[in-house]
Symmetry: D2
C-alpha cells in the first residue's frame, strides 16, 4: 500500500502515520516529492486494508498495490481452472470447452421441463437450468414450485443425462438443493449475501455466481473469494449485465468483463445474455458476441411457449429460436478456435493482448 | 395497463391480444390513433403484470397505469405512518418528529458502546446503532462480535434507556436478533434478499430498510411491500446513496428521493449520510441537507476513536463532531418547522409542491 | 400520446386536459379504467411533445406512442442506408459490407501517418483516421496539429488511396475540414453540440457521429436527426462505450445497442472498441464481439509506436497487433455471413429475432 | 506520480521505465515491496500525465499524486473567490453571500420577461436568467428567440436593475452575447465543448459553468481550468444533477459535490434544482437542501404561466411558488449562518470537517 500525504505535512504527522504502519508489522519507505511525501508500506498489505487511513492527520489518500483477492486471483492457480460437473460424463466449464446451460426461468411442471431438456440437448446445450425458488421484485408474483421443482429436475436429469442447475436464495436451502442438483446458482441480487456465500463454501457442488447489477468486477471476485475461503473452489463466474441509465435494455451487458476476468482470475466465466437484454430479440447477437469476446459458456433462458411462461417470458427464446442461436454459437466458436490457432480460448484473447 | 401495438398490426393480432387480456378477467378498450392502435385494459392491473406481453404478435410495449405496491402506497393509509419503537418512552419515526440514530458501525466492546451511547444521547440521538453481524466485501475482514454484541446492546439499553438498532443478514438470525433489539436493520446489499424480508414480515419489531446501491425508489418500495405483505407494517425506509460514476464519494446521496417518497408512500424515511459519503468530512453537510429536504430522521456512524475503529472508521464521526452535527440539525430542523408553519414535515414539502 | 390522469380527477380537470389537446388540432379518446381515466390523443403527436403536461391539474404522467425521430427511423427508408465515401473506389458503410477505419489518435507528422496508412491498408482497413483537432480534458495537453494535420491527411490519401476521417469540434472549422477530408467525425463530448450538428447538416460529406458518454440510444438518434433535418442524410452512427460505475475499463461498451439500432434505424453503425476499453489489451476481443453482434464496421486506434504516442497511447494498438486483430475480424465476419446464410448482416440478427 | 510495476518485473524493464521518467526531467525513487516494485517520480508531475505508461513493459498502473488543475485549485487562491457581476450594485457570488438567479427557461417575449423579473426580484432573486439560444434534443423543438431575446434581456435589466444571465452554445455567439448580458452560462451538454470554453476564456464576463450529465467533479474543475487558462478567472460552478439509473427524477442532484468542491476549489458553487428534478414539485426541497449543504447560490426556473411555457414548463415554478421557495431559502440560510457562528458559509462546512 502507498500512502499519499497532504501538502505541508508536519514531521509529527508523518511519524504518526509511520508508527501506525510499523505497529502492524510492516516497514515504511518514505519518498519525498516536490509537493508531497509518499509512504510506501512494505510487507503484508492485507493487514493495512482495514485501517481508516484518512482519519489519520496528514493522510490525503491511500492506494493498494495488490488485489484484495487471493484464491480467486490468476496467480493462485497454475492455469485456468476446469470446474467439473457432478457425476456427468465429462461436462465441465473450462477454457478449452464451451459449455451452454439452457432451460426455463422457472420449472413449471414435469412435461415442459422434459420437453425443453430434450430439445436444448439436441441443439447442443450441456446443462439444464430451471428455477425452483425465484427471487421476485413483487411479493405477489409467482415464486417457483420449490421442492417439487427439485424433484422434477432430478427426474429429467435421469431421463436425459443433462446435469441440472438451479438458483438458491436462502442459506437454509443450501443442503437440500445441493442434494438434488449439480450446480447451485447465486442470483445477481444475492451476490453479496454473505451468509449464503458462506454456506455455499461448505458444500461439494460447483457454484455459478452471477455478477450483481451494480457490482464491480473486483467485487464479483471478492464474492467468489468468500465461497473459496470457506472451502469450495469450484466457482463459475457469470456476467449478466449491469445497471446503467440506458432504458432500451434491462441491463447493459459488459463484455469487456470477459478479457478483464481472464487477466485477473483462473476461474471460468460464462455469459447470461437473457437477463442482460430482457428482450428475446437481442439474445442471439449478444450470445454470439460473448463467444467472440472469449466466454467459456452461456446461460440462456429457453421456454417451449414464451407467451405463456410464468416468469421471464419476454426474454425467453422458444425451442426453435434456441436452436438457431446454437447454430450461430457453433460457427463463432469455430472462428474463435481458428483465430487462437489452438483449442485454447485463453490464447484467443492473448493473440493480441 | 395500456398496450401499445406495432404499426400495421393485423386484426387477428389485435384479437389475440384482446383475448389474452379478457381471459384474465379484464375488459379492453381499443383506441385507434393515426399510426398506432392502443388497448386500454380495464380491471385489476395486478394480474396483467406477469404476462410477457412483448412476446405476443403485434405488441410494441406496455405501460402500467398503477404503482405495483399497495400496502406501501400513500393511498393505503389515512396519513403518514408513525412507527413506534419498542417499549420506549415515546420514541417513534413520524413526520412530526425528527429521530436520530447514532452509534458505531460495529459493536467492538461494552465500554466503547456505553461511552458512545451516553454521548450521542446527550447530543440528542434517540436510538443507538451498533453492528453485531457485519456484511463485508472481503472474507478476511472483521465480521462483528455476533451474539456477544447483541448482549452488549441490551446492557447499554438498560443503562441508557436508548432503544437499539442492529443489522440482520441471515433469515436464521431473525428471531434471535428480534429478541434482543428494538429495530432490525436490512443493509443495502440485502434489500432484495427476499428470504430475509419474508422472515422480517413475520416478526413484531420495526424494520429499518436501506435502499440498495442500484435500487430504484420503486424497488425500495417493493421490498417494503414484501415485509408488509408478510404481516409487519412497521417499516422505516432509509436513503443511503446510490452507485454512480462519481469517484469523489463512495455513493451519491439521492435527496430527491425524500420528496418523491413523500408523494408515494406513508412510511417514514430517514437518511444515512455516513455510508453515502464514505468520508467523515462530508457527513454533516449531507445530514443538514437531509433535514432541509424533509427527512424524518438520520442514521449516523459515530465512534469514540475513528482512527482505531475496526470497521468504517473513515466515515465515522468522533463524539465531538457528532455533537456539532446535532447542533446544526437542531437549527435546520427549526427552520424547517418555521417554513412549514406547523410541526408537520409533510407540510414543509407541500408548501411549494 | 397517452395521458394518464390522477386518481379522483374531476370532470373540469378532465375537460381542461382535453381542451388543451384539441386546441393543438388532435382528437381525444377517453378510456375510463377502474382507478384511472386515460386519454388517448389522436393526430400528430409531435405537437404534443413540447407541452408541459404535468403542470396541468389532474395529469399524472404522459407516454408518447411514437419515436421522436423521423428521418433516422427505420421506417423512413426502404431498407438499410449505404453511406458512400467521397470519390473513393466503392468504399461505403452498409449492411452488406464491413468497413474498418484505423489510424492514430492524432496526426503527429507525415511519416508516422503514411507508415500507419500503408500498414493498416495492408491489414484490411478501408479508411484512415487521424486527429487534427483534439478535444482534451486538460487545457495543458497536446491539442493536435490543426490545419497542418489536414494537409498531411490529404497527402497520405493521395499516396495510398485511403479516404480519411477526422474529428471536427467547432462549427467554424466545418467548411475547412470538409474541404480536406472524406468523413467528418463528431466526438462523444460533442454529440449534443447542436451548433456543430447544424453546420454538419449543411455540408455534403458523411458524418461519423459518436454516442455521448451518457447518451441513450434514443438521444443518439435524435442527434443524427439534427444533422439529417438540416439536409445531410449521410450519417454513420458509432457506439463507443457509456459511462458506468465500473472502473476496470474507461467506459462500458454497450453492444446491445447494435441490434437495438438495427430495429430502430436504417443508418449504418460502427463500433469503436479503443475508446470504450481505454486499454490496448481489451481492444481485439471487443472488436470481435462487435462483429458477432452485427456491427457494420469498426473504428480502431493504431499507432506505429504506442509508448511514444502524443495522445491515447494506452489504448492504441501497434501495427502488428492491428494486423492480428484484422485476422480475427475476417474469421468472425465469415462466421457471421455463414450464420446469416447470405451477405446480409441484417439477416444475421433477424435469424433469431 | 507513482508507478506500480507488475510482479516479476525484470531489471531491464525497470531501467526502461526509469529512463522514460528521467528523460522528462524528473527524478525517480525506487521502493521495493515484498511483491511489487514501486517507482516514485519526483518533479513536475504535469509532464508525466501525457505518457501512456501502461504501454511500457513492466508497468501495471500509475497513480497521480497531485490534482490535474492548478488555477481552479483551492491552493491557488488565498481564499474563496468572489465573482463580481458587471456594473451591478454589489451583486457577487461569494461564500459570505447567497445569490439567487431566477427566471424563465426561454425568453418568450418582453412582457413575460419583465413581469418575471419584477416578481423574482421582489422575492429576493439578485439576477435574472432567460434563454435566447436553447439547446434542444429534438431539431423540431422551439430553439429560442436568439438575438431578439438578448435585446429583451437588456431592456428588462435597464428597467429592474437585475443583471442578466443567458446561455451561450456556439463560439461564434460569444462576443455578441457578452456585449449584452452580465453572465454567460455554459450548459451541461457543452461542459466539454472546448472551443466554446476557449472563447469564454478570452472575454471579460463571468461564466456560469454547469456540470455535465456524466461529468465527474474533477472534470468540472478541468473545464473551469480551460476557461481560466485562457485568461478569464471569473468562473461560477453549477451542480445540476448527474445521470443515473433512477427514473423518478430527470437527474440525480449530487449535493455532496458542494462540500467536495469547497475542499478542492476557491470558486463559488451554485445549485440548479430545476434541471436536476425535472419536476416542479421537487424544486423547493432540493433548493433548501442545497442551502443547508453549503451552496453559494441557486439557479431556479420560474415562469409566470408554466402550463403554457414554450420550454421546460414541467420543472418551472410559477411566481407564487418561487416566492414560497424563497421564504424557505431565507429561513435555511439563517440557520446556516447561525450554525457557522459567522457570516461565512465556509465555516459552516468546516464546523464538522
Amino acid at each position: 500500500m502507498i500512502i499519499i500525504t497532504r501538502g505541508g505535512i508536519t514531521d509529527s504527522e508523518l511519524d504518526g502515520i509511520r508508527e501506525r504502519v510499523e505497529q502492524l508489522g510492516l516497514r515504511t519507505h518514505v519518498s519525498r516529492g516536490e509537493q508531497r511525501v509518499v509512504i510506501g508500506c512494505i510487507g503484508d498489505e492485507a493487514v493495512l486494508r482495514e485501517v481508516p487511513w484518512r482519519t489519520l492527520p496528514g493522510v490525503e489518500s491511500v492506494m493498494p498495490v495488490l488485489q484484495p483477492y487471493k484464491l480467486a486471483a490468476r496467480a493462485f492457480a497454475a492455469g485456468p481452472t476446469a470446474v467439473r460437473i457432478g457425476d456427468s460424463r465429462g461436462t465441465s466449464f473450462a477454457r478449452d470447452q464451451f459449455t451452454v446451460i439452457a432451460g426455463p426461468c422457472s420449472v413449471e411442471g414435469p412435461d415442459m421441463l422434459a420437453l425443453t431438456a430434450r430439445r436444448v440437448a439436441a441443439s447442443g446445450a450441456r446443462l439444464l437450468r430451471g428455477g425452483a425458488y425465484k427471487p421476485r421484485t413483487s411479493p405477489y408474483s409467482f415464486r417457483g414450485l420449490g421442492e417439487a421443482a427439485l424433484g422434477m429436475l432430478v427426474e429429467v436429469r435421469a431421463e436425459t443425462g443433462l446435469p441440472v442447475v438451479t438458483e438458491v436464495m436462502d442459506p437454509r436451502q443450501v443442503d437440500l438443493v445441493a442434494e438434488h442438483v449439480d450446480v447451485l446458482q447465486v442470483g445477481a441480487r444475492n451476490m453479496q449475501n454473505f451468509s449464503l456465500l458462506s454456506e455455499l463454501g461448505r458444500i461439494r457442488r460447483p457454484v455459478l455466481l452471477k455478477r450483481g447489477l451494480s457490482a464491480t468486477i473486483e467485487e464479483l471476485l471478492m464474492s467468489a473469494e468468500h465461497i473459496m475461503a470457506h472451502g469450495n473452489m469450484d466457482v463459475i463466474l457469470c456476467e449478466r449485465g449491469i445497471r446503467t441509465f440506458e432504458p432500451a435494455t434491462r441491463n447493459t451487458l459488459d463484455l469487456a468483463a470477459l478479457p478483464v476476468l481472464r487477466r485477473e482470475t483462473h476461474l471460468p466465466v460464462v455469459v447470461d445474455p437473457s437477463h442482460a437484454a430482457g428482450r428475446g430479440d437481442l439474445v442471439a447477437p449478444l450470445a454470439w458476441a460473448a463467444v467472440a469476446a472469449g466466454a467459456d459458456g452461456l446461460l440462456v433462458e429457453v421456454h417451449p411457449d414464451p407467451p405463456n411462461a410464468l416468469s421471464d417470458g419476454d426474454q425467453s427464446l422458444d425451442l426453435d429460436a434456441f436452436d438457431r442461436l446454437m447454430v450461430g454459437v457453433e460457427a463463432f466458436r469455430k472462428a474463435a478456435l481458428a483465430v487462437a490457432g489452438s483449442a485454447s480460448g485463453q490464447a484467443l484473447v492473448e493473440a493480441v493482448a
